[in-house]
Symmetry: C2
Subunit: 250 residues, 2 copies
Amino acid sequence: MSRSIPRCLGVLGGMGPLAGAQFAARVVQLTPASCDQEHIPLLLCNDPRVPDRSTAWVGGGLSPLPAMMRGIAMLQDDGADCIAIPCNTAHLWFDQLQAATSARLLHIVEAVVVDLRRQGIDQGAIGILGTRATLETGLYQRYLAQSGYEPVVPTAPDAVADCAESIAAVKGGRVDQAFAPLARAIASLERAGARAVALGCTELPLALPHVRRAEFDVVLTDSMDALALQAVETFYPRTAIPRKNLGTQA
Amino acid sequence: MSRSIPRCLGVLGGMGPLAGAQFAARVVQLTPASCDQEHIPLLLCNDPRVPDRSTAWVGGGLSPLPAMMRGIAMLQDDGADCIAIPCNTAHLWFDQLQAATSARLLHIVEAVVVDLRRQGIDQGAIGILGTRATLETGLYQRYLAQSGYEPVVPTAPDAVADCAESIAAVKGGRVDQAFAPLARAIASLERAGARAVALGCTELPLALPHVRRAEFDVVLTDSMDALALQAVETFYPRTAIPRKNLGTQA
């Protein structure tokens, strides 16, 4: 990477709000700093009034694009020269957003591919969980196939419903009800042959505390942490962050 | 409270960075919303380059005031009409900050007094833990005395050192080393007669996970959660938030 090191990380959050705030916390937790002043300057726009991304794609609801463009313009005006969007579905509009700003946008699915390699997974079947829009539009499938993986999406109606139920529980503030359906969806992809499963919606990592991830036989790649690591490595390009640090969620 | 309900919460964070990000997450977790769009629009300025607040008061280091004023001006320009500062020591400059903005600033020590009453503590000895500057300037002592409480500060050199050690461990990314010294400092205040202890530095709640708070006999009031609750109640003025919801930290 020959680009210059950015100075301020913008976070276009609010999609959902807990994911946006938790992403900011994960960036801090994963930064190799020993005092306040060594941390990455970060601006978070956590405006949850952005129209629902999945509804817009699947059901023709209001487009979230104008609100997302306003958020990115505000972050850039305030000094952010690198921007992360901790919402997978929002990446369906990635090209339009990048075309509208000179700030560097980090791509969450690229970050997941980097994280798979970081975890030693270079090939094979990768399960994908996410919103209906993320799954149906092939957002992950395209990137994974281009990178030499074989994408596996949930096909059983139960697995699709389980994934949606987990996401809705997190968005509705019922995080304790989000674990069981997600665990079933992961197990379903494992039975379908996946050697790793991508938590391809930033609500899903919130459903699955780090301390419980060792219960799964399959490798998990968490799109929120993957994007946070990508951000930290962009600001600290010479730092290899050990995987063991990933479990330090407060 | 006859003031109008604000539209957007600004958070002047970065002091420290984990406290700023975690505060944003606590506001989301404590908001009685059932979908993304019902949450409070929130902007977080998490710029950790603000000069150290304690050093400025105690040792005559660079003043943090100009950086804090720039952050507040930016938040207000971006639409924030109510601003929270999740850093106790920063409140030593509260009057100057409030004088420089027409946005409503929430005061963290007032929020702690409200939280004591919410927990049924109307009088008696209240222990205070915080940075050296917070303790020596009497920030808490003044508010507590005005509100009918008897403030108790750590006097044993060990207790003062324990508190400082816990704060430094959180700021240095060694959260696992922050619990033991904090537990000793709390026990010391309890022996000195405190019936409740205020975690009067926003690093301290990060040292003490909610699930471990039941281990203490003394009532704890957490300045981060107290300020988050104050913010939520400002945006949802008719909502009484049950104390049981306070334990839902992700």
